[in-house]
């Protein structure tokens, strides 16, 4: 590939510049992969070295430390207590007691069951005294997986705390040796609202994210490697167990009778998801910008009124407006009624049910209705940005004889694109996962008969995210398949983000704003 110097690059036409950048991006992939490989290698090297250092430090602390320090290896916080840092010492000790208690009572069981996800499933047990059979539930795979992961979290936290406890001793010894005083419990508390304030502030939000976002995501990723579904629910019907990469094979390469395969369905839905995301993002973007420019034009009256009317769609909860609009286009809805009254049609149009051309009517309609939902947001954002464009740019352009279209192409559009680049990306990925609009408007309809053998009655307007929902709530409730779809969605979103971030001109530098 030909490399251009900066000067040569500037001389290229727009299209060639774009092509060049794209080529550069793909040409850089091998090197990026190599760098990533080196990076990962370095990471592991550093990790190994770091662990080695930690062990060396642990050993040194033990050898050089006094008896208080040595006892701390077994009884956490002992050193702190013995040196008068009561509060710290008690916290460490309490944590150790809780941890040991938990591991004996529950944690040990969860961890030991994790490799098998439960040994004895539910079944009928003969009761010799009453001479009856009773149904008994035993291990619970779901809980084993969940609490197993949680226990691993807990063990990691314990190791970290234990290490911090040892470090404390070494630091305390050094401080005492240099003749200074140790921090008292009061100082510790004070530092929580002062130089350690960020820990106080982040404690609650991060705990919430850890338990209600990170843990479920890890759990669901793991589910993709099991056979967890409606009939293998892990407790009442039967246990579920590890499957390795079997589910990914089913989704990506398996071929059933008559050439049916999940991969074909997945590809079909993915294509529509990308088309939808593209149109939903860019129609809103350009039309919203257009409306904003109209409202902000000099000499337009009652600007506030126009804005307020548009903002109504943001204010009114989406489920009301979307469900209502969806019913407006129903076969016996207002739109058909109006068209019939006007005599423009003589038979009601089935907007949501027509499967002609892969459900083209429904597909176009969701994009159009999404414009109705989306323009107000873009109008607000564009208004804010348009006001920031220096007016003298336009003035000098006018003096040079540029017409309004040229002004738009050469000033407004580049400025907007530069500033809203990252926003466009989040919009695009957000639209890919735009559950509400699709589900409330069509519920995925019209049904795609060819693809519907796959879990969840697939329709032509289904996005990957609604398909995922349908799989989990469908008859078989194939959670493992939903997890695989979820992971694939993540991969698609991550790849798109990576590409766009690398081609985008406005690579944000956070500190620039401050």
């Amino acid at each position: 590939m030909k490399q251009y110097s900066d000067l040569e690059f500037l001389r290229l036409s727009k299209w060639e510049k774009f092509r060049y950048k794209l080529l550069c991006f793909f040409a850089a992939i091998p090197r990026a992969l190599k760098n990533a490989g080196i990076g990962i290698g370095r990471f592991f090297k550093n990790a190994v070295l770091g662990i080695g250092r930690e062990f060396k430090d642990l050993w040194l602390t033990f050898r050089e430390g006094d008896w208080k320090t040595k006892t701390s290896y077994l009884v956490m916080g002992f050193g702190c207590l013995a040196r008068g840092q009561i509060l710290r010492g008690l916290m460490f000790l309490l944590f150790e007691i809780v941890f040991i208690f938990y591991m004996i009572v529950a944690g040990g069981y969860w961890i030991s069951m994790l490799p098998s996800l439960g040994k004895t499933g539910p079944g009928e047990v003969y009761n010799a005294v009453l001479d009856t059979y009773s149904y008994e539930y035993n291990d619970n795979s779901f809980k084993i997986l969940l609490y197993g992961v949680l226990t691993i979290f807990f063990i990691v936290a314990f190791i970290y705390t234990w290490r911090a406890n040892i470090k404390q001793n070494r630091v305390a010894e050094q401080i005492l040796r240099s003749g200074k005083k140790l921090k008292s419990g009061k100082d510790d508390l004070r530092s929580l609202v002062d130089d350690q304030f960020h820990k106080t502030l982040l404690a609650l939000p991060l705990t919430g994210i850890l338990i209600f976002t990170v843990l479920p995501i890890i759990f669901m990723i793991l589910v993709a490697f099991t056979n967890y579904d409606g009939s293998h629910d892990g407790y009442i019907n039967s246990l579920f167990t590890w499957q390795g990469l079997e589910n990914f094979r089913t989704m990506l390469v398996w071929k059933g009778a008559g050439g049916r395969s999940y991969s074909a369905t997945f590809g079909e839905i993915l294509t529509w998801t990308l088309i939808w995301a593209f149109f939903a993002t860019f129609t809103n973007y350009f039309l919203g910008m257009f409306v904003a420019m109209m409202i902000n034009k000099k000499g337009i009256r009652v600007k506030k009124l126009w804005r307020t009317i548009l903002i109504l769609t943001i204010a009114i909860p989406q489920f009301i407006s979307l469900l209502y609009v969806s019913k407006m286009f129903a076969k016996n809805g207002i739109v058909n009624g109006l068209l019939l009254d006007l005599g423009w049609i003589d038979q009601a149009i089935d907007f949501w049910g027509s499967t002609a051309h892969n459900g083209l009517t429904a597909r176009v309609l969701v994009i159009v209705i999404n414009i109705w939902i989306g323009i107000p947001y873009l109008m607000l954002i564009a208004t804010g940005i348009l006001m920031n464009i220096p007016q003298d740019l336009y003035e000098s352009a006018r003096i040079d004889g540029a017409n309004p279209w040229q002004q738009f192409r050469k000033i407004t559009l580049p400025y907007m694109l530069f500033i809203t680049g990252p926003y466009l990306l989040t919009q695009f990925t957000g639209n890919m996962n735009n559950f509400n609009v699709i589900y409330l408007l069509t519920g995925g309809a019209p049904t795609n008969a060819a693809a519907s053998w796959a879990s969840g009655n697939v329709g032509y307007t289904d996005l990957l995210i609604t398909w995922l929902f349908k799989i989990t709530t469908g008859e078989d409730a194939k959670y493992y398949l939903a997890s695989v779809v979820g992971i694939l969605v993540f991969v698609v979103v991550a790849v798109i983000s990576l590409i766009v971030y690398n081609v985008l001109p406005s690579i944000k530098n956070e500190e620039d704003f401050q």
Partner: protein, 286 residues
């Protein structure tokens, strides 16, 4: 000659402004039609199913009377409680998170932000199954769905720190430093200096946190699991439009829609200024 050309420009500007005015009127009509229709149909009493005309033949308040006799009151109260509690707690969480990430430079900050960015790329839908089971074990599903929903909304709200972090980034750091030199603790800097300046973004956060529960549909449906006492308005009213009920509940849906939308819309319109500020700031700063 010069005068004439000037007049020409003026005339063409007047023409283009007239065209734009007409366009804006058309746009406004398109944007208002669904809301006008829903309002009109909520007063229709001659039939309860979908019809092809907009203006009722007989007017009345029957639909409003009917919804207050149904489970709607439960749903409304549920949603209102969720929205209120969520507005308070979520604001606290989001402000803690965004302020810290904007102001402090600690060791894991960069890694934390990257981690959350990656986390955000997973479809949240996926976590529903497990959250349902966990909440069920805690006894927070079906009839008790309200505390469960609040818990999940609040706990995962820390991820949405971007907009307010962008705002905090615009408050000059020199203010903090000056106060620190004068002997203020970090806590005092936050409460005495930053928070008063951050009023717009605080109101924006409260407003969005209050409005979100009114529209949450899928998760709320999963958690309430068909129990009418645990539903929010979105879940409950969605059922009114399914195949079996639409013929008897369509106009009720319209009336319910009006009752739900009115207070939220009025609140939103009053605080519009702050919302606009938040949205525009957030988009620019990412």
């Amino acid at each position: 000659m010069n005068e004439k050309r000037h007049m020409g420009i003026k005339a063409s500007r007047a023409l283009s402004n007239t065209i734009i005015h007409i366009l804006l009127v058309i746009i406004s009509i398109i944007w208002l039609i669904p809301f006008v229709c829903i309002l009109l149909q909520s007063f229709r009493v001659e039939s309860t199913w979908q019809v092809g005309y907009v203006i009722p033949q007989q007017w009345g308040l029957d639909n409003y009377a009917a919804i207050f006799k149904s489970d709607f009151t439960h749903w409304y109260l549920n949603t209102f409680i969720i929205a209120l509690v969520n507005a308070v707690l979520q604001t606290v969480i989001v402000l803690c998170m965004s302020y810290t990430l904007s102001r402090f430079r600690f060791k894991i900050r960069g890694a934390l932000m990257r981690f959350m960015l990656i986390l955000g790329m997973f479809p949240g839908m996926l976590t529903m199954i497990i959250l349902y089971r966990v909440l069920k074990d805690l006894g927070m599903t079906e009839a008790n769905a309200v505390p469960g929903l609040i818990l999940v909304y609040v706990a995962s709200s820390g991820m949405g720190y971007y907009v307010s972090k962008g705002f905090f980034d615009t408050i000059p750091k020199s203010l903090d430093e000056a106060a620190r030199v004068d002997g203020a603790t970090r806590f005092q800097v936050l409460t005495k200096i930053i928070l008063p300046l951050a009023k717009p973004i605080v109101i924006y956060t409260i407003l969005t946190a209050f409005m979100a529960p009114w529209g949450d549909f899928v998760f709320a449906r999963y958690i309430s699991f068909g129990n009418p006492f645990g539903m929010n308005v979105a879940v409950g009213m969605y059922n009114w439009l399914n195949k079996d009920m639409i013929n008897s509940c369509y106009t009720m849906f319209c009336a319910g829609g009006v009752i739900v939308a009115l207070p939220v819309t009025i609140l939103f319109m009053c605080l519009q200024r702050y919302y606009v500020e938040g949205v525009t700031g957030g988009a620019v700063k990412g």
